[in-house]
Each structure stands twice: as C-alpha cells, then as structure tokens.
Symmetry: C3
Subunit: 429 residues, 3 copies
C-alpha cells in the first residue's frame, strides 16, 4: 500500500485527463439566425428536464450503494469510502469508453445522457464490489474498475446496438452483468481460510442502521434509475409508474418471506436491506413497456420472494459447493432478479406486449450479459490473483484497520472495544 | 408471528394485485392527428415537471418518517423497517381507495397526482404509528394501515369534494387526522404496566443522531409536501415560499423554548427533532394563500412554541390523566400544529385573504378531520385489542429483539451490551 | 444559557418578522389582457425549473454541512443541531440583507434566486462555524450569524455589482470568505488551554460514518451549487458538467495523497471527508466558463492534493505558529481551494477563455473577499470575546453535555460510558 496505490491512482487520473483533453467536448449548437420569437436551443434545453432524474441516480450511486455496504461492523469506512473512490474513477472511465464506442473513436460531447450512463457504468463495478467486499485491496479494486467498465461497455453496445434489445432499467446489462462478473471474480479469489466464516463478517446494531440509509435511498429513487434514459413521453412515464408499484409489492413479499423462513418468524435485516430492492431490478427490463401496473406488482412480488429464498437457501450452497464467497449477497439482490428481468421481458413479448425487440433478441441479450460477465470476471479474477496487489491476509479481511487509520478511542479503549479488537496487535501491510 | 404475519401480508398483496388488475390503468391520450409543429401531449408532459416534487415527498415518507422513528435505543430496526413496510402497503391501498372514490368505482389512470396522494395517504398511518411505536405487532400495524387509509380517504373526500375546503398542505386531513387517529388507538391499547415508563423507552446518543437524519430530510423537503398538489402557478409558488419561511422561523422559537423550559437551559433533542418541524404542519392549510411571508413566520414561530410546550407540559398529563401513551409525541408535532393550521386558515379568511373556501367550511373540515380520526381510531383500537394479533408482552415493548433477528455481538456481548440486554432470557412469540 | 440565549433568539425572530412585514412581498406579474394562446406568465414559470436545483442546495446546507460536522465523538448534537439553528436564522437574515442591498432599500419580492442566495449566504456562516466548532456558545453563534452575513452581503455586492467579477460557484465570495472569516474569529478566540489538544477533539468510528453522510450529500449535489444561479442555457450546462468532472478527479487525488502522506500508507478519514470536496470549491469560480472538461479535472486534481497537504502539514503550523485552532480544517476544504478558484479564473482569462470579467477584476474580487473576511472576522471575534456570552470553559469544549441534555443511559451507564464521561461531575453554565 505504501506507494503502489497512490502512484497507480495518480497515474490513472493523469491518463483520464489526457484522454478527456483529446476526446471530450461541450455540447454546442449551430448558430442559426434568430427569427421572431424562436430562440436558439441550448444544451440546457434538453439537459435541465432530465437533471433531477440524473441527480436521483447520482444519489443512488454514491449514497445508496455506499451506505448499503456499511453493514459490516468493522468495514464501514471501506464500504462508503471505496464506493466513492471506485465510482469517481468509474464515471470518468465510463464516460470515455461509452462515448468513444458510440462515436466510433471520434471526439464527442457531454450531454445529460452521457452523465447518466457514466453513473450507470459505475453501478456494475459497485455491484461486483459487493461480492468481494472486505477481501480485496484498493489496488485490486482500481484495476477491477477499469477492466469491468470496459467489458460492460462492450456488452452494452452489443445488446443495445447490435441485438437492438430492450433493457431500459438495465436488469441484464447492469444488474445481472455486475453480479455475475463479481461472483466470477470472487470465485477466482476464493479464500479457503474463510470457508468457515470470519469473526468480522457480521454486523452490529448501528452498522445495520447505517446500511438502511443506503437501502432506503436506493428504494426511493429506483423509479428514476429505470426511467432516466427512457424515451421521453409515455415510455418514460410507464418506467416510473411500473417501478414504483413493483417496489411497493416487493417490500410486502420480502417481509413476509423473511419472517416465513426464519427461526421463530423473526425478520432478518439482511433480507430487509436487500430483498426489498429486488423488485426494482426485476422490473427493469420491461419497465417502459405497457405491461400494466398489476403486472409490475406480480414481477415485484416474485422478485422479493426469490431474493429472500436465495439469501436463505442458495447462499450457503454457493459458498460451500461453488466456493464463491459473496460478501453482500449480490447474487440475490442483483443476479437472480436481473435474470428474472430478462425472462420477464421475454414473457411480456410472448404475451404480445408491444416492443421494438423480439423474444430471441431479449434471450440473446440475457445470454450475452451473463456470458461476458462470467468470462470477464474470470479473466479479471486471474489478473487480481497475481500476488503483487497487496491483498490482505485472511485474518485482516473485513477490517478497516488494514487500509484506514481508525480512531484510537484512547482512554476509552477498554470501555468501547466493539469497534476495534485490542487483544491482538495487528501487523500492517 | 410464525405464520399469521407472512400469510396476512401475502394475502394483502394478492388482493392488491387483483384489485389493480381490475381498476388501475396507465394514462393515455386520444390519438389526435398531428398537424404542423403541434405534437400530441403525452402523460409525461404533466408528469415530469411535478416528478421532482413527488420525489421530495417520497424521500420524506421513507427516509424522513423512517429515520425520525429510530430514536429509541433498541427499536431502530422497527422504526425504519416497519415504516418501510407500512408505507409500501399503504401506497398501494391508498392508490386504490382514493382512485376509486374519485372515479366513482370505475377503472382509473395513474397520474403524478395519484402517486403524490398515495404517498400522502401513507403519511397518516406513519403519524399514527408514531403514537403506538414499540407497542404493536406487525400484524396489528398491517390492519391499522388498511383501516386508517380507508377512513382517511373518506374524510379527505368529504373535506375536499363536499365541504370544498382548503387544506393544501393537509394540516387537517393528514396531520391532525393521523395524530388523533393514532392517539385514539393508543388510548384503547393502553398498557397499565407501562404507566411508570419502560427501561427501553429512551434514546442513546447515536440513536438520536439517526433520528436527526429523519428530521433534517423532513425539514428540507417540507416545502414540496405543502406545494406538490397545489394549483400550478402562483398558488404553488406561494405554498413553497410560505413553508420555507415558516419552517425557518419555527426552528428559532423551538430552540429558544427548548432552552427556556429545560433544567439549566439545556436543549432537549426531543424538541429539536420534532418541534422544529411544527412550522411545516401549521402553515399547511394556508400555505397557498396570499398571507404574505411574514405571516407564515408568525405561524411558524407560534407552532414551534406550542410544540415544545406541549412536549414539556401536556405530554405527562396525557399519559397519566387520559391514559394515552404517545411514544413519539405525535400530538405535539402533528396534532396540535395541525389544529393550528386549520385555525390559521379561519383567521386568514376572517382577515379577508382571498380563498375559495369559507370560514364555516374550514371549521367543518377541521371538525370532520378530528372527529372521524377519533372515531376511526377508537374502532381500530378495539379491533387491534382482540388478543389474537401477537402483541408483545409489556416487558418486550420498544425492543427489536422480539420481531427481529438482532446482531449477536458474539464475543463482544459482555462489552457492548447497550444494544441487547443479555441478563434476561427473552421468550419469543 | 438560562435566559440570555432564548431571549436573544426570540428577539431576533421578532425582528425578522417585523422586517419581513415591511420589506418582503410575493412575486406578481402585471395583469395583461390574455390574447389567444398567450397566457400570463406566473411566478412559477421561472420558479419550477430551478426548484430542483434549489432543493439540492437546500440538502447541502442542512444535511451536508450538518452531518459533516458530526465527526466529533461527543459533539454530534451540536454539529447537526447548531447547523440547523444558524442556517434557519441565516436564511431569514440573508434574504433581507441581500434583498435590501439589491433593491436599494425598497420592498422586494421573493423569487427562486432569492431563496437560493439566502441558502448560499448561510453557507458562509456554516463554513466559519467549522473553524470554531465546539468552542463557542449558542449566543456567540447567533451573533456571528448576523454579523457575518451582513459583511458577506456587502462583499458580494462589491464583487458582483461593482467589480462585475465572475464567481458563479462562489469560490471566493462564499468559500474563501467563510473560511478566512472563521479563521480570524478562531484566532481572536484562541484558547491557550487547548494548545496541546483536547481529549474530546477526536472522532469515534460511528461519528466518522455520520460525517460521511454529510460528505457524500455535499459531493453529489455540488454541481447544483455551482450552477444554481448561472445564466440559463449553456453557461448553466457547463457549470454542471465542469463541477461533475472536477469532483470526480478530486476524489482520486485526495485518496492518493492521503495514502501517500500517512504513516504506512493508510487512508485518513479526515482527508476523505473533506479533501474529496475541494474540487467542487476550486472549480467554482470558472465553473460556467468554457474551460473544457479536462481543465476542470486538472483543477479538481490539484485541489484534492492541496487540500490533503494542507491538512497534513499546514494544520499543525496554523495551530502553533498563528495560534488559530481550526476544528474542522475549513482552511483546507474551503480556504485554500477557494483561493485556488479565484486564481484559476485569472489563469483562464489569461488563456483567453471568454469571460465578462477581466483578470484585474477577478484579482480585486479575490482580494476583497479575503480582506473583508479577515477584517470582519477580527471585529466579530473581538465582539464575541466579551465575556458575557456564556462561553464554555476549556474542559467542556467539544462536548454536547454543556448545552444539551444528553441521554442518561441509566442502568447502562457503567457499560456504555463512551458517550458521557461519568467520572467527573460537570458544572453547568
């Protein structure tokens, strides 16, 4: 950590600045002579109406994902801090890669869609981060950011421009992609020393409440996520309405199933923090279609159930059989609900809901998203496994103390030890 | 809790889906031939300009109310979690009941006003929840949600469509209604075992800070609450401006009074968390009227004072004389300021501020709101008192451990006991 | 504190109400006869499009600044609470002073720009508060609010209306001004008893996470801060885009430098909470200019570095040599980056970026902002030093217990003492 991380970070930022200087411009409009009352349109005419939706997405990325990852008792700094770092890097790189892909390598202008898509591209990385949270070094995370967004942009181009598939809320291209990419990385980075769990891999009461800040902001602004880049007009309207009701239904079934599968019917915070959001993921692909509000609620209800059941029954299997340690359970918040979203769009088209896409193209988009995610994740995992990136030893996983200066609690140390285990001297990397 | 709660929740969600399938549609516009530059209006043309205000209200409901109720040291999961559950159910039921009332039982379309009003309708339940927080089971809360929103929609129809009264910020129909409904329920569910207080009914330092997240987001977005469904144009503008200044004035007097009534002049977090918001409630009814900014500040200042004085002096009286245990003190944040809002509108009309309503109709609206709230609350309370809804015994009130799996703190248990009292074995329902 | 504070607060609020009654009106438009399709413009026509940007700024002021100041382990109530108090008073006073200055003492109407500028004016006070946090009484803070906003409005009028300088994001008039005003006050109020630090002047793990709520919301909404009062159209568009990329770049260099300057390469939460925001400050002055996105990133990168280096190396010097105790380090988040913002605008104009201002006028604006801030801060500091304002003795600095009723933790007192030191009996003021 001593010099590798800062030098890599500064090197990446210098590269971003050079590439931005070469390729990124402001939007401008041709100077047409102004006649009568007709004024020249400005970049802001299209910008301002979507800006509130962009800001909702922006809050989701930085507040929502950030605080959702503060649930671990000793990894709150890393949760919200590394989320900020990766998203800040990712939005620069995402702007570039996506812009260059769509401009065929020419210089391009920044519109509100570019900013929304840049934020979107970071979401894939943050989802994958959830799978490896607490087990990777800052250097590994920076490398993953660059690699994942590159693969993501390629798959998104394939899905949107070659297959011409529908995926307005990005259930497939962001959620399923980010989850399976992260799971593949986690699989390659499997730590046998953690197969029986880790004493730090748990929450405390207050860390669960910090995580709820993330959950609630994600929940509230998800309709903006699913509609931000929808076609203006009725399609965008439907994307908001469908997501609103899907999420509401999802909350009810997530609570019900959480109680149903738990010992003595108690609710589990892991489910409430995560499964209540699955409805936003699962309705994403068909959010802008005319599926009717009740169908959104069916999708949301099913997603809430699948997500809770996944956390309860698949999660242990994945860890023991497939040797994939998924810290935040992104498979059940993003992976399975993302696949559900793709399948729901196929069912919708089969039921004659109007769409510009076809069942085959939707299936191709789903296959491509999962396939490139797994392939990209495996390659990324192998690169991250090279033992020069300052990985933490097993015993310092899920602990901020290895990468962060944590408060000393000085004279209170013996009275407030929950925050740092003072019985062992920790070597530092 | 074992099966009753999940089955009731799933049953309710199935009912919602069936009713939505039958009655709820998208907005559409007749396909008029497009001539020249005139484009067909879309649902989004009216939707998008109000969507940011809707999102502000949405944040208030889920973040604001949710975190405001995390102030209890051991009931944070329940505060923010049950808030999410009830609001998610309530917005579906509110959409239906309000939509059907206004369409005379016909199928209806979802516009932005429907979504804003659906969120509004949940606010009544969340206010009432504040009165019974920590003393009711999830099953009781679900039943209360359904019953209260039904009564609320009836009273709102009466006030708005029969009396044609003004109540743009819903001081009477939401705040006073929700408070007195909740107080009536709390009165019927009176627990004599808690008459001397409960060891869990208190905050710790950090839980008070979590509650401030709720307070501040409510405070910041209240101008949107009071203006979201105002008539576009000057009325909506005034609703924002008046609320902005009323809240600012309210903060000053709430701080001043809190210091004045406390031992040694110290500030009390209960007052700061709640009374600083009373100005938003009290200015609600006349928020869109031409009362001038200074009059908003008079209303806000008075509300801040009344609220603090209520918390300090009325609260103990209510508990001992009327046997109403009001956990969050909703009487002083919503009840009294809501009544003040109604009275302020009568005074304003008396002073010749232009209004479509009359003094008599405003008085009728106030009486109707308080009256139906008390009647509805009493009946709801009697239903909730039937001893089959898994109420917690007195000793497990205000404690998440009875309905939630709480972190075990394993090896830290003896060092960090504030979060769970480990000296007693808790039986579970 | 017994009567002085409440009486002063109530007196100030009465004064505000009287002045508002005399000077503040609603916006109205002349009643022109309506012909054809042309409808009379309403106050809302200009209001609603900017309202979401206003709300973003509003969240920054109350949530952002408020929670950023909760990092101290025992001063969280004061951090977010006094922030609310001062901002609520400040926005009323700011509305008046700025409105009267621009209307030459006539009655004036409230538009969206007035509300944005009122919120802006409170930012100066909240920045200064950061320098003296934990060391001043509520009475001193109220006095500082009134005095500082008065001086601020004078300087802003000078910069904007006399010098006609550019400072769209207010790097000079708010950030540098607020920081140097606060530092001057802190210098006059120097406490030699605290020259070796104070046992309460530190964070605990959870207080650092509360502070991150503030950081992230400030970071997310900063593009709105820098663009809210920009000229509609391309200038406003550029202000958003430039700030977005400047902040992203700033995060990368702040993380890199934090690791570089720390013992063993660990990240320091003080830097992450503050220096990641310096890019928003430093790009402020030229945010609306055509500097190109890559130049924003250069400015942001430099600001992140300067800020971290300042915290690390200048901070101890300032405390020991200049005897200025800067609690939150506002010099490195607002002071130096604010000056950088002014200098960047001079460089930009020197490089022929189009601007309505000139290099000389920008330099005059920078000099005026820093100069009036220091002069105003010194005078304010001298007034606050009069020993009648109930200052806390040194040993009760940075401790809520002196001005707030803090939770007693009753039976848990001996097990959870981190929140209140129970070994000493605290005298109260």
């Amino acid at each position: 950590m001593r010099f590798k991380f800062p030098l890599l970070a500064i090197g990446l930022e210098v590269a971003m600045i050079v590439l931005f200087a070469k390729f990124v411009r402001y939007e401008t409009y041709p100077q047409v002579p102004q006649q009568g009352n007709i004024t020249r349109p400005t970049a802001m005419d299209r910008f301002l109406p979507l800006y509130p939706l962009f800001q909702d997405v922006h809050v989701m990325i930085f507040v929502g994902f950030g605080f959702l990852m503060t649930f671990l008792k000793k990894y709150g700094f890393g949760g919200v801090g590394f989320n900020l770092l990766l998203a800040a890097l990712g939005l620069q790189w995402g702007t570039l890669v996506q812009g260059l892909l769509h401009s065929w390598g020419q210089a391009f202008a920044i519109g509100i869609e570019n900013m929304i898509n840049a934020d979107f591209s970071t979401a894939t990385v943050l989802i994958s981060l959830g799978a490896v949270l607490g087990k990777t070094s800052p250097i590994q995370m920076l490398i993953m950011t660059i690699l994942e967004i590159t693969v993501f942009a390629g798959n998104e181009y394939l899905v949107g421009n070659i297959f011409m598939a529908s995926d307005i809320g990005a259930s497939m291209t962001i959620h399923a992609f980010g989850a399976y990419f992260g799971l593949a990385v986690a699989g390659v980075l499997y730590r046998s020393g953690l197969r029986k769990g880790h004493w730090n891999e748990e929450s405390v009461y207050h860390s669960d409440l910090f995580a709820m800040i993330g959950t609630i902001f994600l929940w509230v602004f998800w309709p903006s996520f699913n509609s931000a880049i929808a076609e203006p007009g009725d399609a965008q309207y439907r994307a908001i309405v469908n997501t609103y009701f899907s999420l509401a239904a999802c909350v009810i079934t997530a609570f019900a199933l959480s109680s149903l599968v738990q010992h003595r019917g108690k609710l589990d915070m892991v489910h409430i923090q995560n499964a209540t959001l699955a409805g936003g993921v699962a309705v994403g692909t068909c959010a802008d279609m005319e599926i009717q509000p009740f169908a959104s609620m069916v999708i949301g209800s099913a997603a809430g159930m699948v997500s809770v059941l996944g956390y309860k029954f698949l999660s242990p299997l994945l860890a023991t059989k497939l040797r994939i340690q998924d810290t935040c359970g992104v498979h059940y918040l993003h992976g399975l609900p993302g696949v559900m979203g793709g399948l729901a769009s196929i069912v919708a088209i089969a039921m004659n809901v109007p769409s510009k896409s076809s069942m085959a193209m939707q299936a191709a988009a789903l296959g491509s998203s999962v396939g490139t995610a797994v392939a990209g994740g495996l390659i990324t995992g192998l690169i991250l496994r090279i033992p020069i990136w300052d990985q933490a030893p097993d015993e310092y996983c899920y602990d901020d103390a290895i990468y962060w200066k944590v408060p000393k609690h000085r004279e209170l140390d013996d009275q407030f030890p929950a925050l740092e285990d003072h019985t062992q001297q920790k070597p530092e990397v």
